[in-house]
Structure formats: C-alpha cells, structure tokens
Symmetry: C3
Subunit: 678 residues, 3 copies
C-alpha cells in the first residue's frame, strides 16, 4: 500500500494548515481548543513557525524555543505531524534596526524601512549568517522530535534587492556567465545600440526606471540572477538542515506563474515541490476557466519533479486579497481539494488553521473563524473532506501518467513580456498556454507542464505555444524528438531569439526548425482588439484574433488558410512530416474554438490515453493517478448544476463508500467522484 | 429677535466671500470698485488675510500691517464685517529657505521643496513659534477694530508629515496611549503576525510604502495621531487669540468627508464649525443625488456642535478643479445657498469675491469676474440672493430639530477602508451612508449626522450603517439606547473589530449586540459588481448587491429573506424587540429601493416629525428650523422642471414677499420657497 | 531643373534610412550585402553615426574613426550620400561613470543612473565641452569627404534636467526676462496667491511634484527655459560644424506635437527642418484620420521655414512601440511616403535600414529584416518606391503654396494644458486643430500650420482655434490683418491670458479683439462627455459638445444660435465685418460636421485655390507643389477600396509612366497618382 517514499514517508494524504499558535500564547484555552478541533476536522499535519523569528529570538542571540517545544509536544500528543518552518520570511525589528543591510534597496535605489515581509537582501552576509544560525538551532533542537515530518523553508520567496552588495554579486555572476569577457556581454546585450557599450564591469547596474530598462539582455540576466541569488540563499538555509536531519525532506512553497522567480530552476534545490493555490472560483462566468487554470498549475508543480507535490496553502472559504472575495459555494471546497489530489497532490493544506485576530490577513478564510467554534459551514465542509481524505491512503504516492506535455518556459515568458513589439503590453502568452491546454482538460487527458529544458523523450506529443526564445540545444531537441517519431506543435512567434534575447538571423523559426516545420515566417500582423480575421480548417471557419503570422509553407502541407485581408489564402495551419514524426505549426491566435477541434482530433489520431473514454458534459473532467496496476479516476463537475456521464460497462469502486459504480452516473453540482478501477 | 449668541452676535445671516485685496494693491481703483459692488451684492462680511503671510511679514521679523489696516478700515467704513484669517495655510519663501524643518517630509521620507500650500510640519517648533507670533500680533493689532467679527484659523487643514520630529512625537503619543507598555501595543496591533513584534519604541515608524503598510493598528493610530497633532497645532494657533480677544469666536473651515482628519475630534477645539461646499451640480443624471450628498454634509457639520454652522466657501458659478466644470444653471445658486440655511447654516459665503488674475485658481468662479463689472448673470444672482438673505434675520440662530440620527464615524471609515476583505478596494461605506440617508430627505425629515461617540439619548431612531468598529462603550450605549425604548438600525459587517482594528472573538456582531439584535452573522459573501441576489420583504422583491451577510436569527423575528443562491431562505432583514425598544438588522447591501420603503414605514411607525406632511414630488424636499414657537420651512425643487406640491390647509407666510401661502404651491425649476408657519 | 539650393544641393529626392553599421562590424559580409541591397532598393542616402559615441571614443580622449572612415568610403564608392550625425543622443558609459554631472536629475531631484538615451544635462559644462570636441573632430575629419551631404545634430532632442546647474541657469534666464526685477516676476506669476512672493532669486526652484506645481507662470517659464537651454546646447553642437563646414546644411529631427520643446523656436537654429513620422495607419476606423493628422504635421514642419522639409524617419513596415503594432497594408508604404512629398518633403527616409539584432528596437520595421535577404514584401515595396522617387527630380525643391493658415502655438498649448478649468484634464486643443484642418484636406486645399508669431500678411484666411494666450502684439497683428482685408476665424476660449498666463482684465476676447470680432464672451459652459447641445446655422442643426461659450454679439452679425439649455437663442457663430476684412467667432466645440460645412463655404467665398477643383470621394485628397510654372498634383486614396475621380478636361501627365491623363481616373485602394500639369 502506498510507496510514499517520495515525499514524507507518511502513508496518508496529508490534511492540515498553517498554524500560528505564537499569536495565541496569551490564550492557552485556545490552544487546547485547537487540538480538539484539529482532530474533529480530520487533520493530521500543521505547518508551524512561519514568521516566528521575533518569538524565537526576541533579542539578538537570545533564543527562546519554549513556545515551539510546547507546540511540537502538543501536536505529537495529539497525533499530528509538524511541517516546521524556518523563520526567514520576515525578520525581527531589532535586526532591521541594528543591521540596515538586511533590508532591501528598491529599483529606485532607496533602502526600505522595516516592515512588510519579503523585505530582505538575499546577498547580505549578516542575513545569511543569522538565517543559517537559527536554522541550525531549530534542526539541532527538533532533529529527533517525533512530530517533525518535514522542513518548510521560509515562505513564498520573492522580490529583489538592488543594494551595492547585490550589484557586486550581479557583476560577479555576469563575469562567470560571460567568461570574464565584456565583448561577449556587449555583443549578446547588443549594447552598440544607443551607445551602451560597457568598458568596465563596474559600469553595469541592475535595471532601474532611473537608469536602464531598454537592454533586454540586461533585464533578462538580472531576472536570472535574482533566481540564482534566491537559490543561493535557499541553499544557505538548507545546508544546516541537510547536515543535521538528512532524512527530513525539504520544501518551500511556490506561487503559480510567479513572475519573479524561475521555479523550474529552484525546484532542483528542494526535495518536494509545494505551492499555494487561490483561484477566483465562482466568477460570474462560471468555474470552468478557473478549474482549468488551476489544473495547469497543479500539473506544472507536479511536472517539476515528476512526483507527487503538495498543496501547501489554500483556503477553505475565501481569501481576503482578491479584488472580490466571494465565498466558496457548498461543495466547492471538497471539489477543489480533490482536484489537487487528482492532479498529483498528496496533501490538502490551508492558510490557515485559525483566523488571525489582527493585522492584514485577519479576514483570510480559515478553518476556525473568529467565532471560535466548529458550528460553521466552513468547518463542517473541512471535516467532511477530512473524512474523504482519510480513505485515500492508497492514493498517496501514486503517479500521474502523461503522454502529452505543454511547454511553459519562464525565461521565454520574461523575454516575451519585455519584448517591444506586437501588442506592446500584452503578448497573451499565458492565454495561449491556457488555450492549448483546455482541450486536454475537456477530453480528460493527463498533461505535463514542462519547460524547454525538460527531457522530451517520454512524450508522444509536445506543444510549445509561442516559444519565442529557443535556448541553446532546444532546436536540436525538437528536431530529434520529431525525427524520432514525436509530434510537436508550435505556433506564431516561435524560434525568434536566443537565450539572451538576441534575434536569430536567417529568418524564423530559427535554423533547423524551418526544415522541421517546413515553413518560413515572413511577418507577423497584430490586430486591434476589436478586429479579427478567420481561418478555414477542415471545412470549418475559425476566428483568428490579435496575432496573425504570415508564413510560407515550403515542405509543409497546408491544413488551414486565412480567409481575408491581404494575406487571404496564405497558410495558417501546416503539418510537416519529418523523420518518423510530424511537426504542426499554428500561425494564428485563435479564440479557443480552433484549438479545441484541432487537439481533439490529434488526441484521437495519436491514441493518447484519457482518464475516461466517455463523452464528458461541459464543465466535467477526469484525471487519473495510478501505480502497480491500481488506477484511480477523479471525476469533477465544475458546474453548479448536476451533470450526468456514461461510464459504460467499465466497473469501478467508489472509494468514498466502497460501492460498485458503472453505467450512467450522476454528479451533484460541484460534485466529485473518486473511482478505483476494478 | 434671533438669539444669535451662539455664533457671532451678529443679528443677520452673513453673506460674503473670501476676499484677497492683497493681490490687488497695485490697483487701488479695484479696491474702491470692490466696496461699491459688495454693497450692490448685499454682502455684509468678507474673510480676509488667508494666505497673506508673505505680505504681512515680508522678511523675518519685519511686519507690515499697512495693507490690512487699510482694508479693515475700508470694510468698516462700508459696513462690512471681517472674518480675519491667521496666515498659516502657506508660509513665505524666506521661511522655507531659512528653516527647512517647516516643510513636510512625505511618506517616502523625502523633504518637500518650497511650494504649494499645506506644506508645513505640524510638529516643527519653529513653525509653531512663528505662527503663534504672527497670530499674537494680529490679535493685538485688531482686537478693538470694529470690523473684526471672527477668527478664521488657517485654511482647510490637511496632510501629514513624516519627519524625524513627527516620528518622535508619534512615539510619545503611542507611549501615552499604551501606558508605556510595548506588550500592550504589540497585542493590539497583533504584531506577532509576520514577526513584527517591537522590542523598542524607537523601532516604530509611521506607515510608508517603503516600510510598513500592513499593520492596520499602526495605520489607524497614525491617522489618529495626525488628527491629534493637527489639533495641537490648532490649539497653538488659537491660544494667543483666546488670550487677547476672548469674545471673538474662532472657526476653521472643514471639507466634507475629508479622509485625513477626524473632524468630530477637531470641532471641539473651535467655537463654530464652518465648511467649504463644492458639489457637482447638474451631472447628467440630475441634481437630486448631489442635493442629498450635500444635505448629509450640512447635517454633519451642524450636528458636530448642535448649533448653527457656517457655509464658509461655495461658488456662485463653477469651481475650476472638478473634472468637468459646468456652470450652475439659473436658480441653482439661490437654491443651493438656501439649502445650506435650511440645514442650519447662518451664512452663505464664497470663494471668492473677485477672480484672481493668475495662478492656479484664476478660473474658479467668483462674484466678480475678470471683466470687472456687475453686468453678469452671476453677479445678478448673487445680488438677488443677497436681497433674500436680508429678509432672514429671524432665521439666524434658530435650531434644527432632529429625532433621527445616522452615525458616520471617521475611525470606522478609516478602518473599513484599509480592511483587506470584501471588495478589496471599495467597501462602499459612503454609499451606504447615502442610501440610508436619502429616504429621510425624500420624506422631508430632519436628520442629525453624528459619530459613535455622540450622546444617543435625544433620538428616537439611530441608524448605524456598517458600524464595523465598535469602540469601547459603544456596545453598551446601543444596548442602553434600545433597552430604554430607542429604535436602532444596524447592517451587515457591524461590530467586527475593536478600536484598534482587532477582531472581536465569539462571533459578530460583538458581545451583547448579538442579544440586542437577536442574531449571529456567520459569513459574508461578496458579489461581483455584475451579479446580484434579491430579498423578499413585506411581499416585495428587492435587489441585493455587493455584500450579502449570512445571518442566523436567534431571538429576532425575520422580516425579509434571501431569494436565491445557497443562502436562499436565510434571514436578510430582522427585528428584535429588546427592552422597551427595537433593533433592526439589515444583512444585505441594497440598491436604494429597499431602504426607501423600509424607512418610509419606520418614519410613520415611530411618528418621526417631518418638515411637511405632504407627499412631495420627486426631487423636492423640505427642512425645518425653529425656535421659540417660530417655525421656518425651506422647500426646494432640485428638478430643472417646475413642480407642484399640496400644502393643504396649513397656512404659511412666504418670507421673501410676506404673502400668505397655502393649498397647491408651484415651484419653478430649481425653485425655492421659505415659509414661516403662522 | 530643380533649384534645390534650399536644402542640400542634391538634385534628387532623397531616399534612404538610418544606418547603423557599427552594430554589424563583426559581420563584414553583412556590410557588403547592405551596399548591394541599398542600390537594389533605389536608396541614395544614409544617416550614419547616430548613437555611435561609444564606438568613436571608446575611452576618454581616445578617438577611433576607423569604422566611420570605412563606411563613408564604402557609401561613396556605391554612390550613396551620408547624413552624418553628431553622437550626443547618448553618451558612453565611461563618461557617465567619471562625470555624473552629465546625467540628468529628474523633477523629484534624483540623479539618474547611466542608461537609456536622452539622459544628459543640457547645462553641464562637461557635456557641452565633450560634445563640442567630438563634433569638431568629426567636422575636421570629414569636411572634404565626397559622401558628406549634411549634418544630423544629435537625435530627437527632448527631456529636462533639474540639477543645481540647471536651477542656476534657470534663475539667470529669469533675471534676464524680468529685467532683474523680482517684483515684476511676482506680479506676472501672481505669487501673492498662496503667499508665494519670492524675495530672493535663490528661492526659485523648477516645478516639482514635491515642490511647486501651481504657479502656472513658473511652469510656463520653465518650459520656455527648457527650450532655450536645449537651443543653447544645439548652438554649442553646431558651432564647430558651421566653422569648419560652412556649406554643409544642418538639421535635427523633430517629433510632431512634442510637448517638451517649442519647435517654432528651435527651427530657427538649423538650416533644414526634418521630422520623424510614425502614424497609426489602419486603425480599425480606417486611415483617413491618420492621414489628416499626418498631413497637419507635414504642413507644420514645412511651414516652420517655408521651404521643403525632410521626412527623416518613418517605417516601411511597422513600428514596435505603438500599443498595437500592425503591418502596413500593401500600397500604404508608397502612399504614405508620397504623401510626405506632396506636402513638401524632399526626402523619404526610414528608421532603419537593417533591423537591430538585439535591444529594445530589434522589432522596429526596417528595410532589411532579420532574414537578411530582399525576398520580402517590405523590401519589394521599398524598391518600388525607390523607382518612383527616382522620377521626381523635378519636384525636388519646389514650393508648396498656401493661402490659408491654421495657428498652432506651442506656448498656447502648454498654457491651455496646464490651465485648471473647463474639462480639467482635457482641453481638446489638438482635437480642435484637427477639426478645423480636416475640411481643407477634404477639399484638397493646401494649408500652412504656423504659430502666432509668424508673419500673417501672406494669407487670405487665418484660423486660430482656442487661442487662449494672446502674446504681446498678437492682438494688434490680428487687428491689422482683418482691417487690411484678411479673414480671421477664432473660437471659444480665445484671448484670455497674456504670455505669462495672467488673465486679461476687461473681458474676453482681450482688448481690441472684442471690437474686431464684435462680441463679448461672458461665461463658458463645460458639458459632461455624454451631454450635448446643438447649434442652428444656415438652417441646419449641428452638434455642440464639451465647450459652449456664452457670448454677446455686439457689432457682430449672428450666423448661428444655440438651440437649447438656458442659453438657447444666444449667439454661437458670428461674423463681424471690420475694416476691409471679416472676423468670425465660433463659440462652441462641434463634432466636425459644422466645421466641414462652415469652411467649405468659406473656401468658395474667398476663392481659395484648390489642388483639384473636382469633387473628391471620401478619403481621397490632393495637394500641390509648384515652381516656375510647373505644377505637380499628388492624389492619394486612403481607402482600402478603389476610388474614382473626375479630372474633367484638364490634361496632366502621369509622372510615373509619362502617360497623358484626364477625365475619369481610377485609384487603387491606397493608390496614389502624381500628376504634372501640362
């Protein structure tokens, strides 16, 4: 049962929350209530110590672990595991006052005051030393504590610092990257433009609104450096933990498509990927788009390490920082939590267990509200979910097989977003990812979300929307993948620049890709938002909007053509048979109708496995986890109305009640079924 | 006739303007023209000396009162009184240059340059000393001048300073408030959150975008401190005046719902409340909403001291700083001026008498335009109003009786606006105040607008929309008020936090209020702007939008229920009989239709007195002032079309022409009638 | 043939581009390709050396002209002329590092870091000296080079600096302007307002958001100073060039209605006006508005010196910095290039010859794309245009006659835009210019665009929309013009302030203009955007929107009246016969329908010459150039559909093919015809 060695060696799905008892130490009766209610809610884990530095080290060098000792013991007594955080997410006021260097300098070159969180310089030797020291003490103190399950490194890393220490570190990073050769840097950043040639490394400064914002190579390298430097900081945090508790796994919580950090790089430093999920459910247009967007995130965080991930934060009710903070409707909490498990999460965790009494997150939905008791709708739904999760021990640790993958590449995103062209302030990259992902969700097909540096060999089908940046080796990887029998789909504005945002010469897509796809892209037209064109494909007319590339099919076969404007009749969709595989090129931005039909056909042609072969009603999807012949199918209905689906003759067990299930199945509005194949 | 002791001992309604002859001293013929035209316009008062510091003290320590001597005498010769201003609203350039400390430091911690107005540090000892000195000299010089009617302290106080002197003063204020106990401060600000515990008072800094913005307790205390420190500055200004001219009343001009200062605190420092009114009349949707919004302001400024107030500034024509500066239509000037009197103003004053020739307010509507003569539409209307006001001596000093009150609480507003929840950037508090006020305006009922610290005992009905913050004692005050026979109306999101924005534990509304209202509010749902729900009340369906609280009626009777969504059937309007009184709870945000019907019923049930018992056509309202058996009813028509109303058999005199008036009465578009009961 | 002495002594229309071979020196084969392709494209000129400072002076005092020597020779060998740039548009990194004073200080008083372009202090002695030095060396080195055709001073001057050096220079400029008399400055800036009287020149600082923004006189003078100081910098740049190469003409490239600099002042410093044109063609509403807007710009840049101008930059394809970067449709490149020639340009030049490989302009449309070859749609259209331009030698140097002029005055614009009144953030001045210009374009009438300081005597008709600021002498000029037989059209909000934004006393329009127009403007009403009024003129009803002035016709005849609101029946259009001429006053802002009818009548009445007497279809226009009896008519069709027009019996030659042409003529969509009168 369950292999579970991958994550925490704990043979159950984890159910729990961030827990901040340090806020409640003046109220011991509340701590007691917490223990009672945690068990009532079916919780088996709590993340503790996040932001507790001021409690743990109230003055420099004086450590006080009494609160943590008490809570660790208390949790253990109650059979609850602890994910213990390192406290670096915010620093004590005394530290900021004594060592201003630990505070950030913003891009305007102003040193911040004490306050907020994420307000520390990653380069500061003082901050690194203080962090390593407190982490070491935590590890030493709790290394043998039975409650200790895992390390939670800091919290939601993010942000950047432009202080002199960071400038110096950035220059060292650049010297390393460019082999100590300024000419190479000047060429790659194309500094001859606007007379920006650097003749001394000391002349280089991080991007700034009062300095340089127009050298895209600099901007890109700065973003890379920020990820690198954050990684160095993470390594510094982890070192004492790995040394003292080599068997305790380490995670840090990511945040979906967070612009500031390339998570595909950082995930290599930790043992388990976890992330914080706060979708806008119940927008007036319904929940399907939010469900798909969230599914992409789950798939991406899972694909990072190709193993189960953790849903580290979510809310059982509502967040407090959305523009409109709407209540989760009955059922949605269970549905959205099981969605995470369906996509490979081995946990369902919340921010937070008990609502804060004060400060800026006091209205963030939590398991226990300010009223303090369990007689609330939210608590009841959490407890009901706890019961369901308790029946999923077999699911813990199972794999999430995928034959198709979509490439979302962080550096490509950064480069696209800062590119000055097309629609200047909106390249619609994330929308493109969503548009090319949605058909798989609708067809109940598992998909990996990978970056362009991931190994391609395990997939039948790879889709790379707007792969503007072709990093070194990517051209060859695509060529080998297709030649070897894979199917690759690319779109407009692909293969345009190298890893430093320097344009490829010789036409796009770059180099060999012109042969692989059998096309040449001459120009790209951008339409005003109120305009469109259309493309006829397979006898049907589809909307083309925003971006229409004007391509020439050379070896490729034309599958679709533009219907109007001066490029009427030019190729809009092509297929090129290359080696043992095929390469498709979609030259236009569609509105979702085209991609739906295009991929639904491709899934059938390539015989890509689906969770359910059934025709699913709108808003219903299924995903699969499996291992050792066991196969779990998670079916969810994202409509607020009931839906029916036909399972046919295949028989399943309903995991939550053990009943056999087949034929016509009814799902409640926001209903979910967990099926185990017989 | 007229008691008039309350304000200025001047037995007439004041009619006048800000007058800045210092701008025109190079043109003596213009000063002469001013005197002639003031009399022609029926003006009897001018506010002078505002912003005159550079003229009065052209270099440090050299005072030159010649211009002021001249003008005071000139006014006196022409039978016009002077409201003499202290000049602190702007400082001379030499002072800023010599003592940079008098200039403000902004929240980014940057010292301002000389320029603008309101650009002074309230803490600066230099600025306080300079201000006290010039005020003392003004008082000494003019204490016996026959024109001197009143002191106008500075001008439109506002803004804040973050300089080191202010930081130190803020820390002292905090030590006082928190009994020198950092633990108490840490608990109230809930600083354990994000590791913000302060271990030394010196660690505390005022809120800043480059520092702390997330501790709501800090933000709130800072705002309180700004009001406190401004008050200290005002006291410093007033001290020499009170010492030298103890009988001359003191005012300073307020500005409607000005976010920066709690006027309910500051009004205690002055003798008479005055304010500056610049509504956007004639927006394309008509004038009724502007009329109601302005009425609320008049009522609030009157309620502050429960005595007649002053309309210190308004424009006879148009402002110049609105987004769209539209001309007041014929009639509107008289109507809007008489509106002020109807709500308790004993003055109608303008900014300004004569349009400036240059600088940023040169196009602000004034009595005398750049053309310089009286043959303008604006001048004629001002003169016509002057004639009417001349007939209202009996009105001066009369009271404005009110049996109902609406609570608008500044600190509640600050806390609500910074709260992170619901609709993140719009809590719609001001809209709620308006929605609960409008029905009284439409029914011609006088209303007081008070804060939660005001004495409740004089009212039959008190309404507290969104009283999120229940300050110490408020819970008990409401309980006593209802138990004693009062009717109290509360709404969603009430009784949530204490005075430091710390959530009450045990469920909302806090403490005893759950019993008084007989309900418990479990959750609150926020809808997207394009969504709504509805509530059935008394057999009729009403729109619910933005905020729907999910409440449980315990002892309370349910009067209205939600019609749809998952909380269909839950209580939306409740009534609880408690002691000798009743407490209503409105759980949802309506669109105005519900409140209209709800209050119109309540007014009848509670027999709350109306200015006129008649059914008034849309856009027509009436308000009453009375004293010693005399009763004046002011009727206004805010439509651009004529309107009729039926006075029935009650007979009145029309004050402007002495005619008897009864039965069917016709009002012109933007017409006004001033009736005196027989 | 061709007089051509006015511009460059080069007897052909110039066709070329910015050329930056310094970016490609590592690729000598690309330079060779460039030469081959330039000839293929029919190019005869290249602008070189823009932003080349870091290449020319790689370290302080070490000059390296090898690249420039090579390119100048290369161009010459290939029969291509060089417009040689001075490199001051951006400075080398070493200079910024060594002499921080060369970098700008922004209005927040922060010194910029190195980066961007336009980032230099115009006052810095170091920067002036460095610039003069490199300019001198360029002139010395290439003074006899056969390729040298012209000097291109810096690039797109713009921006301002608030450093202490600039503050001191500003004060000196003010002392000069105000005769060393602070009282005069105080009066003109109306500093008594808000106590701003300056008692020492040192107290004056440039406008700043953290200082003074409300003294419009200061703001205006600062803008004037920025133009002045930029002019001083330009003079410093030009001095060595004029000394060493007195016969080589000098230009610098302007940018349409660029807010930061008064081009009517700067044009006096250079020999030839050039400008950079990047219209948004093909917006979804069609190309006519863009064509008219661009026509105004061409006319303005031509009118500045009353001689042919240069189109210095344009794109053959698309820009990269528009919000939506749409491809030029086939034909548009030729049409828009010939439009420039039609309005008086003797050049068609591009930014740039070859697309950069990296940095922020790498996607800006260029003649040669990243693919590197000539087999592109864009290259083919450029080459086709090159062929046409090669047939226009006779056009080079010809005049563009105009009997009508529209006044666009920079200082008036600055003053209007900062005026606080009307619609606060939109005075709609540029729209007004467009509205009063469009009828002439539609009637194929040549128009000059002048400022209020231009000589009026050569025109039959002068139009001054919103001439808010009447500078000294303008009142008299208008009076003399009309009295002498001219026709002058003015509008609402004219003659309000003097050159320092100080209101005229005595009513508007100021002084004698009340007699010339025979009216007095009492008030001005601003409507909400969703409101309007209407005006009946000549039996037809026209929309009035945004601004409606309430005027009194004294001597003037009323031609149109308002139809509604309280000013129904008041004059809205008047005509006053004055001396031998006539003065029209249009009191309202129309939507384009009124101006169209009004001017079409006036053009006929005044017998103003048209390029073609024909009735032109919508979107088709014609403009004329002529000299020595030769007359060229340029006809353009800005519709994407073909259009027909009737030339009647007049016979022309089609310049591109030598055919005779008359009667009905067909124009392709975006088609153009160049006709030579027989």
């Amino acid at each position: 049962m369950g292999k579970c060695t991958t994550i925490t060696n704990y043979p159950h799905i984890l159910h729990g929350a961030d827990y901040n008892p340090d806020q409640w130490m003046e109220h011991p009766e509340i701590i007691e209530e917490d223990m009672r209610m945690m068990k009532l809610a079916g919780c088996n884990v709590m993340s503790i110590g996040i932001f507790a530095w001021a409690t743990l080290e109230p003055e420099e060098g004086r450590y006080d672990f009494s609160f943590l000792d008490f809570i660790m013991d208390k949790l253990n007594e109650n059979g609850i595991k602890a994910i213990l955080a390192t406290p670096s997410g915010a620093r004590p006021a005394w530290m900021a006052k004594k060592y201003p260097e630990v505070l950030r300098v913003n891009e305007m070159r102003q040193r911040n005051l004490f306050g907020a969180r994420h307000n520390h310089c990653y380069t500061s030797p003082v901050y690194q030393q203080k962090t390593a020291e407190i982490n070491r003490r935590l590890a030493e103190r709790y290394k043998n504590h039975p409650a200790l399950l895992m390390w939670h490194i800091s919290n939601e890393y993010g942000g950047e610092c432009h202080c002199p220490l960071c400038q110096a570190a950035f220059r060292e990073w650049l010297k390393e990257k460019y082999h100590n050769d300024l000419d190479e840097l000047n060429y790659q950043w194309w500094t001859k433009f606007w007379s920006h040639t650097y003749t001394d490394w000391e002349q280089i400064e991080s991007p700034s609104p009062i300095g340089e914002m127009k050298l895209h190579g600099l901007t890109l390298d700065w973003k890379r450096f920020v990820t690198y430097q954050t990684g160095k900081f993470i390594e510094n945090e982890i070192a004492p933990l790995r040394e003292i508790t080599p068997d305790v796994p380490v995670t840090t919580n990511f945040m979906r498509f967070f612009d500031g950090l390339d998570y595909f790089k950082l995930c290599k430093l930790i043992d388990v990927v976890s992330w914080d999920s706060y979708p806008e459910w119940h927008r007036s247009e319904g929940c399907v788009e939010a469900a798909q967007t969230t599914a992409i995130m789950h798939d991406m965080h899972r694909s990072m390490k190709g193993q189960p991930f953790m849903l580290m934060e979510s809310t059982p009710s509502l967040p407090n920082w959305h523009e409109i903070n709407k209540l989760k409707r009955p059922g949605m909490h269970i549905l959205s939590s099981i969605q995470a498990v369906a996509h490979g999460s081995d946990t369902v965790q919340y921010f937070q267990w008990r609502k804060s009494r004060g400060s800026s997150e006091k209205f963030h939905g939590a398991v226990v509200d300010h009223c303090g008791h369990e007689n609330t709708r939210v608590f009841r739904e959490v407890a009901q979910l706890g019961e369901i999760l308790g029946k999923l021990d077999e699911v813990a640790g199972t794999f999430t097989p995928a034959e198709a993958a979509i490439i979302f590449d962080w550096e490509n995103w950064w480069a696209l977003d800062s590119a000055e062209c097309l629609e200047l302030h909106n390249k619609r990259y994330i929308e493109a990812i969503h548009r090319h992902y949605a058909p798989f969700w609708e067809m109940s097909v598992n998909v990996d979300v990978i970056d362009s540096e991931t190994n391609f060999s395990k997939y039948k089908l790879i889709i790379a929307p707007m792969l503007y940046m072709a990093k070194p080796g990517v051209e060859e990887k695509i060529e080998r993948f297709v030649a070897g029998g894979g199917t690759f789909v690319s779109t407009y504005f692909s293969g345009v620049v190298n890893e430093n945002d320097l344009c490829y010469l010789g036409g796009t897509p770059c180099g060999k890709l012109k042969e692989v796809f059998g096309i040449w892209a001459e120009e790209i037209d951008t339409l005003y938002p109120e305009e469109n064109n259309s493309v006829t494909f397979n006898g049907k007319e589809y909307t083309a909007e925003h971006f229409c590339e004007l391509i020439h099919a050379n070896e490729a076969e034309t599958l679709g053509k533009y219907d109007s404007d001066f490029y009427k009749g030019m190729s809009a969709v092509t297929k090129n048979t290359y080696g043992k595989g095929a390469a498709y090129y979609i030259a236009f931005c569609d509105d979702g109708a085209f991609t739906k039909d295009f991929y639904s056909r491709l899934i059938k042609d390539l015989k890509i496995g689906r969770a359910l072969e059934a025709d699913l009603p709108y808003g219903v999807t299924a995903h699969v986890r499996e291992e050792n012949g066991q196969r779990f199918v998670f079916v969810g209905n994202y409509n607020d109305e009931p839906a029916e689906l036909e399972l046919g003759d295949t028989k399943y067990f309903d995991v939550t009640n053990g009943n056999e299930i087949f034929g016509m199945v009814q799902l409640d509005g926001y209903g979910v079924k967990i099926l185990k194949a017989e």
